[in-house]
């Protein structure tokens, strides 16, 4: 039975098809970078950086357009930092609880619930921000409108938390029980074991997931648009409205003339977002690799 030649052709076809797919993907990567950078570069040629780093955004001004993106940067940072501040501690505690104290049988169900939470489409979260959280904030703080950066931060925190919980819970789960038992056998309590030993295994995943969440929060568009009022001003407190980098893209892109300066500046903002998320992702990857606990 000589089948080695037929298996060789099978092999060749398989390899080439896979290669083609990989090449196509590589091409996509290249195109993304190219098509975002090109208009952005054009914008940079026309608008000096100093003008971008400015607090006034007025693309429609007939006499003097101004392209200050600080309000959006500020809006994005506000919502993102509020979201992280709320989500990070809750996620850590919830993941400890779900892996260390919830009976094993319930755990896959809660995994599913957290997964579901992560999968709720952002418009629905925006809808909730608009109809529930916003009015609640207005009521509590006595505001006319609850559409504030706080609203955006809260809704974002709910959106990023489940992924953090799953990531951390996975990391906790992956730890061989012998480590917890090792600590217990030395006289530690369960909570001490989780905090002093298990946490050390999870720490890289923890920091990486904070960074990833930062990236996700800063990139989130629809929910935030629906939550924070979209006013191109620098919010001075969590109870003021604002607008984010993503928000301005979603809202203004459709109204611009293709190839106009406005269009190009929006691409520049897009590129900025791209670069900042790339940096954040790269850093998180770096953390994971540098600090991965090597267990033999």
């Amino acid at each position: 039975m000589n089948n080695s030649s037929s298996s060789k052709t099978e092999d060749k076809i398989f390899r080439s098809v896979a290669f083609a797919a990989a090449a196509l993907s590589a091409a996509a990567v290249f195109l993304i970078i190219l098509f975002l950078t090109w208009p952005a570069l054009k914008a940079l040629l026309e608008v000096p950086v100093a003008e971008l780093w400015h607090t006034r955004w007025n693309p429609a001004g007939y006499t003097s357009q101004s392209w200050g993106i600080i309000p959006f940067v500020a809006g994005s940072l506000w919502v993102t930092l509020i979201a992280l501040a709320l989500a990070v501690p809750v996620a850590l505690l919830a993941s400890v609880f779900s892996t260390q104290f919830v009976p094993e049988k319930l755990r896959s169900m809660t995994d599913f619930i957290f997964g579901t939470l992560a999968g709720i489409p952002s418009v629905i979260m925006g809808f909730l921000a608009l109809t529930v959280v916003g009015p609640l904030i207005a009521k509590v703080f006595g505001l006319n409108s609850g559409l504030t950066v706080l609203n955006g931060g809260i809704i974002l925190s709910i959106m990023i938390m489940p992924t953090m919980v799953s990531t951390l819970a996975d990391a906790f789960e992956k730890i061989d029980p012998i480590y917890a038992e090792g600590a217990l056998a030395l006289g530690a309590t369960k909570w001490q074991a989780a905090l002093t030993v298990l946490y050390r295994f999870v720490r890289p995943a923890f920091f990486a997931s904070i960074l990833l969440s930062f990236g996700r929060a800063i990139g989130e568009t629809m929910a935030v648009i629906m939550a924070i009022g979209n006013v191109a001003l620098i919010p001075r407190s969590p109870l003021q409205p604002g607008e984010t980098l993503t928000g301005v893209l979603a809202i203004e892109m459709a109204e611009t003339v293709v190839g106009s300066l406005h269009y190009n500046v929006l691409f520049l903002i897009g590129l900025l977002l791209l670069i900042s998320t790339l940096i954040v992702n790269y850093l998180s990857e770096l953390i994971t690799q540098r600090t991965r606990v090597k267990v033999q």
Partner: protein, 249 residues
Amino acid sequence: MALKIEATNVSAYFGDKQVLYDINLGINEAAVTAIIGPSGCGKTTFLRTLNRLNDLSPNFKMVGRITLDGEDIYAMNPVDLRRRVGMVFQKPNPFPMSIFDNVAYGLRLRQIKDREFIRSKVEHALRSAGLWDEVSNRLNHSAFELSGGQQQRLCIARAIAVDPEVLLMDEPTSALDPAATARIEELILSLKEEYTIVLVTHNMYQAARVSDYTAFFLNGYLAEYDMTDNIFTKPRDERTQRYVTGRFG
């Protein structure tokens, strides 16, 4: 020779399933007692009742009485019990910290702050575990940089740093290669002067090599308990005979 631990009529259950039946066994002080028997016979379960580690399983139940120096271990705080009864596991489980911090861990758990004291304890424990010479110049390196055998010796050092009286070892060499195994066995022999050691092992020959007493468990029962010399040259129980001569099934 004094009895350090005494198990009287100990039965154990996981849920409805009984895994230990009426065990009566005295562990002699300053000696190595090996527990052997086929897979699933309850060796590990028995060992883990001695420091109440089984209590972590929600469906575990024990009846009978276990005493440490005559005191019922269920009358003690488990944290105190576990300080007195250290444990070494099947796979080396160094914590993700420096070598030093691993050994100091148990001391710090007890709120000991005196740095000099901790230092001297750590050194002493590492020396006793025969690891000092290999690690003294890199105490602040990660414990995971050590080889498997070194890690296991580190775990032993960690256990003895808090001055336990008893050391429980659950197949401490089953994840190691023969050379590392030989070192651990030498270590066990040298530790038995100071500690009462209970050693669960799959490897009958290991029990033969290092233990003074051997308990043979079978289906949750204690089938035979005797001096190791007798177990391996003239066991009284027919089943022990069959087991040690490898004719078990």
